[in-house]
Assembly symmetry: C2
Homo-oligomer: 354 residues x 2
């Protein structure tokens, strides 16, 4: 493998010295890019795109070349894990993901296998190897997964949900069944992330998109403890380099200290907390990733730059900041605005690193 030419992202994750703040965007390989939409069209649908390593590689690298991000995230979907556990998964246009046969009973949970990631998710591993090859050391490659709680919401609700009535009913009335599922998912996800690392990802992020719908006690019991279980099982060094782990719970800003205490390297922030408040609460225990409001990308480039400056100033001097949005970039953002965002971080952050 060639030497990394730009390892700012990895250094910032580990709170090491950098010349400027690195930046990438959650969902950066996505629909706001016309090139992405063209490749997806060619793939014949979202799931085909995930499962065709050449095309997944292509869209993963597009934001490096088109908007200039400092890290690539492998193109995939969090729901390929339950699919590899034998659950039928569909992505009909405009419908969002669906599991037509959701998990409902303890027997359903017991029946689920923990998949061998090199086998059932071999197409992800092939994509990772290809992306590393095509990147040729330009920037690091990030792997990812959904948190067990977040995966379980889709598996039990059968898709997206408004009230999460089914998984909440299971949590309250049949907690052992839910724990069995979460336990299985944590082990499946840990094996999956370790396979990603073995195949070449240089950092991993766990997306806990729905942890924020829980009470504090339920967050600890049903989400955080299983992310901790994953962190404990992960390969933390590969090819002589530490592999940073990023935990991101949307809506979890009340629990930052506890997230930071899991043993992760980086805590991902959504946009509802000020960066200075987050840094004061977390101290130098871990690095922070975030946290511009993704809808700020609807603003004009001058307004975007002012916002970037504000967030940089709130973080202040010192190491351990990976700039990002507080959630994924939305499909209708103008590409020029995404570029202006990335460029602003690159230019304005130099002053904070000397």
């Amino acid at each position: 493998m060639p030497e990394l030419k730009n390892d700012l992202f990895l250094r910032a994750c580990l709170r090491q010295d950098v010349e400027r703040t690195p930046v990438w965007m959650m969902r950066q390989a996505g629909r706001y890019l016309p090139e992405y939409r063209a490749t997806r069209q060619r793939a014949g649908g979202f799931l085909n795109l995930c499962k065709t390593p050449e095309l997944a590689c292509e869209v993963s690298i597009q934001p490096v070349e088109l908007v200039g991000v400092d890290a690539t995230i492998m193109f995939s979907d969090i729901l390929v894990v339950p699919e590899a556990m034998g659950m039928e998964l569909t992505f009909d246009t405009g419908e969002g993901p669906k599991f037509p046969q959701p998990i409902r009973t303890r027997a359903d949970v017991e029946r689920l296998p923990v998949p061998d990631p090199e086998d059932g998710l071999g197409y992800v591993m092939a994509a990772i190897r290809l992306i590393r090859k095509e990147l040729a050391g330009r920037v690091p490659l990030i792997g990812f997964t959904g948190s067990p709680w977040t995966l379980a919401t889709y598996m039990i609700e059968g898709g997206g949900s408004k009230n999460y009535s089914k998984i909440k009913a299971m949590a309250f009335n049949e907690p052992e069944t839910l724990h069995l599922l979460l336990h299985k998912l944590a082990d499946a996800v840990a094996a999956y992330l370790n396979a990603q690392i073995a195949n070449g990802v240089q950092a991993v992020q766990i997306f806990d998109t729905w942890g924020g719908i829980l009470t504090t006690r339920d967050y600890r019991e049903f989400s955080l403890q299983y992310m901790q279980r994953i962190v404990e099982q992960l390969t933390r060094e590969h090819d002589g380099r530490r592999v940073p782990v990023i935990l991101y719970t949307k809506g979890g800003m009340g629990w930052l200290e506890e997230i930071a205490a899991t043993g992760c390297d980086v805590v991902g922030l959504d946009w509802t907390i000020d960066m200075d408040v987050a840094r004061r609460r977390i101290g130098d225990k871990v690095a922070l990733q975030g946290n511009m409001d993704p809808t700020m990308l609807y603003a004009n480039p001058d307004r975007i730059r002012a916002e970037v400056k504000d967030i940089l100033a709130r973080f202040g001097h010192g190491n351990g900041h990976v700039f990002n949005l507080g959630h994924g970039i939305t499909p209708d953002v103008p590409v020029e605005h995404a570029k202006a965002f990335i460029q602003s971080v690159k230019e304005e952050s130099v002053a904070y690193h000397s």
Copy 2:
């Protein structure tokens, strides 16, 4: 008007002594009740139900008689205010609310009148008078409104929204236009609440359902300051009794201290914060309303009772707790579970008041 037989709710709002903790549920006049569904059917649709005082009165009182709550909230919808400002509003089945001609330009905002609530919203006032009469002093009557920010999201997006791209773009690119709208809405809403008070509501709640999608700075600028403006304009005493004001921002648990400082009497909590943490942060400045996870009503009655006990214990001894859910009751909750919740609060809270 007859004397109030049960004024526990009003006393708790003002942190006065009570024999037990009062309890009501956001959206308690709602679809989980078969009797509500029957009346709505009879009305021929949701908006007709809002606009027919006899039927609005009927569904407002149902939860007092059927589940035993300690307060009535007038049945209505937050979007009747923009409708009274001349915006066409539709509620097609399964579609949610829609404004077919949303606000897009400064001219659209300038054109909006501030309605005379006794005129354009006379049917709400008629319903209030009727509810007070039919209640005959059994429990107090709560009036309500949406916050200016929350109303503006629907008026600008044209309905519910996933990314709030239009209102956010206006906030970032054309803040003066949005401020003009919010200013107008604040004055319209203040006049509306004062008319509600003049016609007989004994407390008012401002629902800021979408304040939680903002950054801290934007929450202050676009939501909180306008709720404060309303609070400052409200009639705080009527018929010799203080009229408590409740502010509820879903997703606003990071800003509790600032909400409490607006001059409101009660801060509404969603379920993502522990009651003891909230009380420690707020002290005795205001009363607290909340905050059981509404999906806990999917649990069995024993589990519901255990949760009620936990929240009561976290609040502890002392005054200033109005028990409620952290958000509205959902349509598919069994009525027996709602009853079990109300009954549990009534029984278990006695121990905390002596």
